[in-house]
Amino acid sequence: MWKTILRRLIIMIPQLFVLSILIFIMAKFMPGDPFTGMITPETDPTRIEELREKAGLNDPWFVQYGRWVGNALQGDFGKSYTFQRDVSDIIGERAINTFYLSFLSVFLLYLIAIPLGILAGRYHSSRLDKTIILYSFITYAIPTFVLALVFLYFLGYQLHWFPTSGSVDIKYEEGTWGFFWSKLYHILLPAITYAILGTTGIIQYLRSEIIDAKAMDYVRTARSKGIPMRKIYTKHIFRNSLLPIAAFLGFTITGLLSGSIFIETIFGYPGMGQLFISSIASRDYSVITALVLLFGFLTLLGSLLSDIIMSIVDPRIRIE
């Protein structure tokens, strides 16, 4: 199994290489460059041209690419044009914020979705099932920004139950309990919003898996052994139905690390999603390319993670 994992990791190198070229070219295709936004009627065009020349933006793309890859391999992703700081530092700060938010989001998501999916499947076509289906369709139909704004307005501005932006209160020292609670407090509302809206897929998937599993031959065998239905659900049906959900976990985790663009932007939460949007707006090439490369890497990692999880939970699948 370790061999397979290593092999999969090695295969990722050419994949990432191709990805990096594509990202680099596409980023260059975007109209404008980091200095476009600085141009005012008073700016001397020769000054801008000087800056471009100095930043190497006038070289052919492959020269720029070569320089970028060379530095990246040494862990240097360049400087952000906007922040004038190392890209890796900026992403590092944001990544930790997104990680906290994602972790809580996924936790709440599964906390809501798994029981509801199980109940809906277990009591298929009952009134409870219909209510859960209705809930999942409604939350599926609500756009993220609508619910986020509604929550922000009522729970944040009107009732003052939750903070309306930021990731931590500035009055706390880092490393204290107050700091930790303040962080948690700040991510709670965005995480709840995310969890409520993301449940549909898991509920529907789990529900149909359970309904399918109920009609399986091994359930009939279990009944023929005289096992009470309640036990058949817990020992036979749920385990089989949760397999695909477990396998999907890999994608979910890494997917969330790229941050939710809408949620982070609306809640003013300094995470990767928000950074991504703002760096695109300001043509901050070095940040964009580093971020997309990171997202690509996480996706590849997610698929590997899913395969590993699958091989752990399903005895029929063994990575040799």
Binding site: M216, D217, Y218, R220, T221, A222, R223, S224, K225, G226, I227, P228, M229, K231, K235, H236, R239, N240, L243, D314, P315, R316
Partner: protein, 337 residues
């Protein structure tokens, strides 16, 4: 053959399925007796109601869309009237079942040992250690020589024949008095089939259980059955000891079944088929001889209006009097059909 040998006595059983708020009987007035140490084969085409009969006996039908009426007497209780909870006590401990496809019938995520142990857990008060011992013993009993290895394996790691042996071990775990085997060899290849059948016979010799063998394979019937009941369109149309039935089949349907077995020495290269198809549940005429439409060359007058089972010789029952005048088309016209 005294009545104390009788394990299961089914009387006038009707099992109907709900189709658009009406119940249609797939098993339509079946009466049967299963005795100790006997293999009773139920034979018939797909859709004749034989599997429905089996699921009614063991109570595995969907309670919401199925209606079971009549008597299934087992140990002075009518199984047809038991609640789901009461039935759970009977299933697995006194009546158990072997299914057709052993791969899908075993839980893919559960180790073999655990799947066998499960029914012991619910029906006996054995300790964990005792149960494990019993699992080993059962696996040896069904001819698996290395139980310590197999208990840790998953169903997909075993061959088809091994899986069916495991299914049989599950079925006999609590020493049931009745075993229902629903096409137990259909999904296996021929060499394994006879091994599994031999195993069933050996186990029966040890346990004296009554086995209800559901099959459409007359070869299997000839090999293992003591008595045979032939079903057609929800009814038993002929019932006899196996030798009697194979030597002197009476009912036109039974004879057609035998006639449709391919013969190696047949001169004609064509297979003998039974005309027509099994009538569907909804359109099935509920009066008269149900096989009449498929032997249309006989005049209507030869059938009874309300066909009943007649005992033509001791233990040999035939429904409808049409058998007395039945001839194959080929026998009348001289041409093969």
């Amino acid at each position: 053959m005294n009545t104390s040998d009788e394990l299961l006595k089914i009387h006038n059983l009707h099992t109907g399925f709900r189709i658009k708020d009406t119940f249609y009987d797939a098993v339509d007035g079946v009466s049967l007796t299963l005795r100790k140490n006997e293999i009773l084969a139920i034979v018939g085409e797909s859709g004749c109601g034989k599997s429905t009969l089996a699921t009614s006996i063991i109570g595995l039908h969907d309670p919401n869309n199925t209606r079971v009426q009549g008597e299934i007497m087992f140990k002075n209780t009518n199984l047809a009237t038991l609640s789901e909870e009461e039935f759970e006590q009977v299933r697995g401990s006194e009546i158990s079942m072997i299914f057709q496809d052993p791969l899908s019938a075993l839980n893919p995520l559960m180790r073999i040992g655990e799947q066998i142990e499960e029914s012991l857990k619910y029906h006996t008060d054995m300790s964990k250690v005792k149960r494990n011992e019993r699992v080993f013993e059962l696996l040896r009993q069904v001819g698996i020589n290395r139980p310590e290895r197999v208990v840790k394996q998953f169903p997909h790691q075993l061959s088809g024949g091994m899986r069916q042996r495991v299914m049989i071990a599950i079925a006999i775990a609590c020493k049931p008095q009745i075993i229902i085997a629903d096409e137990p060899t259909t999904a296996l290849d021929v060499t394994i089939q006879s091994q599994i059948l031999d195993l069933l016979i050996d186990l029966q010799d040890e346990t004296n259980a009554g086995i209800l063998l559901i099959t459409h394979d007359l070869g299997v019937v000839a090999e293992v059955a003591d008595r045979v009941a032939v079903m057609y369109a929800g009814e038993i149309i002929e019932e006899a000891p196996v030798e009697e039935l194979f030597k002197r089949p009476k009912h036109p349907y039974t004879r057609s079944l035998f006639n449709s077995i391919p013969q190696m020495n047949a001169h004609s290269g064509r297979l003998n088929v039974i005309e027509g198809i099994v009538p569907s549940l909804i359109h099935l005429p509920r009066t008269g001889c149900r096989f009449a439409p498929r032997i249309s060359w006989l005049p209507d007058s030869v059938h009874e209006d309300h066909p009943t089972l007649h005992e033509v010789s001791p233990g040999h029952f035939v429904r409808c009097s049409c058998w007395e005048v039945f001839h194959f088309k080929s026998e009348i016209g001289g041409t093969t059909s």
